[in-house]
């Protein structure tokens, strides 16, 4: 059963005679529990699409549904967000940052403390609970942001190029650990990136988007068995998929 259903989504910026079309009749669906990635060149509208799914921006036409419910605003209990920048509150510790959404929601203290401790454990930061963001590395901060995104126990996690600002090694490691977190929690992940390797390594399916105006030009199933090891990135099958996606994007230009 699909958790995300997007049908004929159009987004235009600027009114008047020549509005800028960012998304052009985008339709797709994502099944529950899957890890699906959207790839495309910079400026193709993938972030806009994510913003619409998150309920932060309204589409010009068409609709997006999450668990059958039409998106017209943020759904904090259903959808967790992880942004490109961790966006942690600098005056709060790692623990307090993860706890923040639950605190706002009014959960009682013992329950939310227990949950946050478990989440920090899950992302491998149990020992850093009392550290402030400025005392953590870029990768650690993004781990805190992932834990915060999971705090309200949403069924769907939207991730907007979460590892783009990290160095290559940290990025690869984070992707690997994200798969463990995904396997442990059973969430649906909808992930955005412009790195083809990252997309293929992480996903069950890759949605390929054209340059602006963004359209979904193909959906490619990735069948590497799980759990995946990092060696698959060097395999011939991996390279073939990479080439295929690369050609799809280049031809659409």
């Amino acid at each position: 059963m699909p958790i995300i259903e997007v049908s004929r989504l159009v987004k235009e910026f600027g009114a008047g005679r020549a509005p800028l079309r960012a998304l052009d009749e985008v339709s797709f669906a994502v099944d529950k529990g899957r890890f699906v990635t959207l790839v495309g060149p910079s400026g193709c509208g993938k972030s806009t699409l994510l913003q619409i799914l998150a309920g932060l921006t309204a589409p010009t036409r068409g609709e997006a549904r999450i668990e059958g419910e039409r998106v017209c605003g943020p759904m904090p209990g259903k959808v967790g967000m992880v942004f490109q920048d961790p966006t942690l509150l600098p005056w709060k510790t790692a623990f307090a940052n993860v706890e923040f959404p639950l605190d706002l929601r009014g959960d009682d203290r013992p329950a939310r403390r227990k949950r946050c401790a478990a989440l920090l454990e899950l992302v491998g930061l149990a020992e850093f609970a009392d550290h402030y963001p400025h005392e953590l590395s870029g990768g650690m901060r993004q781990r805190v942001a992932i834990a915060r995104g999971l705090a309200q126990d949403p069924k769907l996690i939207l991730m907007d190029e979460p590892f783009a600002a990290l160095d290559e090694q940290t990025r690869t490691r984070m992707g690997h650990d994200l798969l463990d977190i995904w396997a442990a929690t059973g969430k649906t992940v909808f992930f955005i990136t412009h790195s083809l390797s990252e997309a293929i390594y992480l996903s069950d399916a890759v949605l390929v988007m054209s340059p602006r105006p963004g359209r979904i030009i193909d959906t490619i199933a990735i069948d590497f068995p799980r759990p995946r090891e990092l060696d698959i990135i060097g395999s011939a099958a991996f390279g073939a998929i990479r080439n295929r996606i690369w050609h799809l994007i280049s031809e659409a230009r």
């Binding site: 920048d85 600098p90 400025h134």
Partner: protein, 253 residues
């Protein structure tokens, strides 16, 4: 070490006072222009009670004016700063008013509110309000949109967003407004007391000036100085506390 420094500075102060006393006694300078330290002590001894009551009056006026200026400045700044349009429409007006020497408006306030404490509090609060509101608006406008996207995605209400995210993020900018504004409150209250009033330290200074009681005038000035220094110490403490995490953030970048 600290104690020795204290003894040293006390010795220097005593030497200066002695030299000062000697100069005045020798008749080199008129006592109307320069009162001797002994005249100040005498003023304190003879009219200490009157000055103490005046000090209490001024303190209460300044306290009330600070509370009003801070509250109105911060709340207005948060509201105006939250809307780009409202800020664009309001900030230029506020800063032009701030550029006017507000004291020229004091006769109006006196006509409306009388010669008593009320007009002093009103003027003090009025002159302290502008830097506070302007800095708060700037602080709120400077908040990066990603924090607001975070607030919405975790389901923060409007009030929660302002109290838990916007306010703390704008705080460092606000503090510089509070410093300037509070200084202006102190000046505003003392100056209007000197212009026309029935009580307070400023009133005693200008009253004794007309009587050529220079010793009393100096004692009043000493009290005013004491007030200003105390307020400044309080503000420096506040600044240090609030600036702590911000400085850590900057140190890291």
């Amino acid at each position: 070490m600290r104690r020795r420094a204290l003894v040293k500075s006390l010795t220097v102060a005593a030497a200066i006072a002695a030299a000062w006393e000697a100069v005045v006694r020798s008749g080199l300078v008129s006592r109307i222009i320069l009162a001797a330290p002994s005249d100040i002590v005498q003023a304190a001894a003879s009219d200490g009670g009157v000055f103490l009551r005046a000090f209490a009056t001024t303190l209460a006026e300044i306290g009330a004016a600070i509370v009003i200026a801070w509250t109105l400045g911060i709340v207005t700044g948060l509201i105006v700063g939250s809307s780009r349009r409202l800020a664009a429409a309001t900030a230029p007006v506020l800063s032009s008013i701030f550029a006017v020497p507000l004291i020229v408006l004091y006769p109006l306030l006196m006509a409306w509110l009388g010669i008593g404490s009320l007009s002093k509090v009103a003027f003090g609060a009025f002159s302290g309000f502008f830097p506070i509101v302007l800095n708060t608006i700037d602080g709120v406008r400077a908040i990066e949109p990603r924090y607001l996207a975070l607030a919405r995605s975790i389901g923060a209400t409007r009030l929660q967003t302002h109290a838990r995210i916007v306010f703390p993020l704008a705080l460092p900018a606000m503090v510089s407004g509070l410093r300037v504004g509070t200084g202006l409150v102190v000046i505003g209250v003392l100056v209007t007391e000197m212009l026309a009033s029935l009580g307070g330290v400023g009133f005693l200074i200008s009253y004794h000036r007309t009587l050529f009681d220079t010793g009393h005038v100096y004692f009043g000035m000493l009290l005013a100085l004491l007030l200003a220094v105390a307020v400044n110490i309080g503000l420096t403490r506040l600044d240090r506390r609030i600036g702590r995490w911000q400085r850590r953030e900057q140190a890291q970048e």
